[in-house]
Symmetry: C2
Subunit: 351 residues, 2 copies
């Protein structure tokens, strides 16, 4: 039996408590400063509002000011914050974490500093105290995993990624269950780039929902699946390019982290909802402010986080614009309120 703290009580962080508690581990679930309502509900014995399920008895809910107590003697910290919370998490954990406790992150994203792109485990590490940041083990979870399905104990296949195979094996052992199928990969760059980019390409595939709603079905009842599939494929081609550029491995692109995670993300959710609004012709800033002011749309967050860095890298010749027409289109739509036009002539041009 191990003791695990999960930081972040959103749907994904909390969902990880299900295989953990089913495996007999003790879990302390610590809300962020934004999770107050969730923790209050859980402490009162109600279901998790996002997962719509009650947690196991062995899962103890804590508020963020109780982190010190919640993290005492744990064997592992699961980082369940979203991409916006990564710097806050680094700061918060710095105050309480011992370098001997590994972190397993479910957070997806990339960061840019105008010069270069970074995977989130590296951003997290950079935010930790200098005296132990290089000793701390950071692993991450990638792969198609809708939180509500995992919490409902429906078959879910994921990859645990990190540099240390022994740690990955140990983590997989802790979490593996009859419904949570865990593989491991040391291609942390490839996995992280895939699972971050899938959000922006799912946003792109979601545009088609809006196109279809605007134009309607054809007279023979035809929808627009061909178009959605072409955008999906262009997304995978661009993902492969960026994975290679950042020294990841192509295998991650056509397995669970790449194609599997993009597939599941296109089945609905906030990226698809925002994609629909954009496809209907509503500029991004208006769509966000009027229709989804309180939602984190990870695809749009990613465009905002890396947009100007990607544009600078293209300008400097560090990235090839011909290899990334869809990414650049999505960045223009989200960062500059550009109108939605599909750059057909630029698709699949790069080989």
């Amino acid at each position: 039996m191990a003791k695990i703290a999960i930081l972040g009580a959103g749907v994904m962080g909390t969902a990880v408590s299900f295989p953990l508690s089913d495996n007999g581990h003790v879990v302390n679930l610590v809300g962020t400063h934004l999770d107050g309502d969730i923790i209050a509900k859980l402490q009162a014995g109600y279901a998790h509002p996002g997962l719509r399920l009650k947690l196991a008895e062995s899962v103890q809910p804590y508020t963020h000011d109780q982190l010190n107590e919640a993290i005492k003697d744990v064997d592992l910290v699961v980082l369940g914050v979203n991409s916006h919370g990564i710097n806050w998490a680094a700061q918060t954990l710095s105050a309480v974490l011992s370098p001997s406790i590994p972190i397993l992150a479910v957070t997806k994203g990339l960061a840019g500093d105008g010069e270069k792109l970074y995977i989130l485990p590296d951003v997290l590490r950079a935010g930790l105290p200098a005296d132990y940041r290089d000793r701390l083990e950071i692993a991450a979870i990638g792969g198609p995993s809708i939180a509500q399905e995992l919490a409902a104990r429906r078959h879910t296949c994921v990859v645990f990624t990190g540099k240390n195979q022994t740690l990955l094996n140990k983590l997989a052992e802790l979490l593996r269950s009859p419904y949570y199928h865990v593989w491991t990969s040391t291609d942390i760059v490839g996995v992280e780039v895939c699972v971050a980019l899938k959000n922006i390409y799912a946003l792109a595939v979601g545009l088609v929902i809006g196109f279809l709603e605007k134009e309607g079905k054809a007279e023979n009842d035809a929808a627009m699946h061909n178009l959605a599939a072409a955008i999906f494929a262009q997304g995978m081609v661009e993902t492969a390019y960026l994975v290679e550029k950042m020294q990841g491995k192509p295998r991650s692109v056509y397995s669970l982290p790449g194609t599997g995670d993009l597939y599941v993300t296109c089945q609905g959710g906030r990226n698809s909802r925002m994609g629909r609004l954009l496809g209907l012709g509503i500029p991004y800033s208006q769509a966000k402010a009027e229709y989804m002011p309180n939602d984190t749309v990870e695809g749009a967050s990613l465009a905002l986080a890396i947009g100007s860095t990607v544009e600078s890298m293209v300008k400097r010749g560090d990235l090839d614009s011909e290899a990334l027409p869809l990414l650049l289109t999505m960045i223009a739509i989200v960062c500059h309120d550009a109108p939605v036009t599909i750059p057909w002539d630029k698709f699949f041009a790069f080989s």
Copy 2:
């Protein structure tokens, strides 16, 4: 203006007449011996029953016994038969075709002779007269292309593949239109393996429809997208293995022919319908006989066409069983009426 004969008046062959006629070409659409009803309807001025649209005036419908007349002076033959018709097509074309007329095939599939697997353009070529089979140019179309959408002039992105880049450029020029976006690839093996295998893996993803129907949604309303996505990803990993084994290129796997075509094929159609029946627990032979006796289910056809060859190749060590657990499962289900069980422990094991 060119003159083109399309052999096979099913939905896909006929859909190709739309960009051709829109581009001002004359099209002779020749039904097979199984397309009698379709040709009769078209000759009487009705819509195509599968596409639910009328054809352009410049498209002339012909019955198979008029092939000789229909094929006179054409610049190109589009082969629109399904995988079962490939030998019939070779025989039929042998009687009338001149080696100077290229063939552009929409037929998808693979064949096996117990020893080896073959792509369909090679099967077609082998069935042509020995004195010119090596001189004839054969190209093929791959990529996500639901026929009804193409016929409705909805954006469709495809790859024309073949050995001769000059011919591919010429064919792309003939068919390209504002809604039919055509790229070219000389990786005919990679493209053909991808577009054939997508049928069997779409059948596998379709199983989940049956699983969900049987088990129902979870108490928190969760479906089974994680499971479908994992099967999708395993399908891509296995496709990449077979493409490599047959000397195709990985790029075809993660672009239009691989990931794009599998994505679109999972959006519905006969593979999904059969997958649902199998997922409900109905043995294949019963599902086919009772529910879909008159439908060609391409995924099942492929399993039957290559099943015993794949099994022999695995036995002889020419293929690695660890690399193909899902394919072997689908072959067992279709060829041996095996019960449906997902071999989790064998997934993603091969790297």
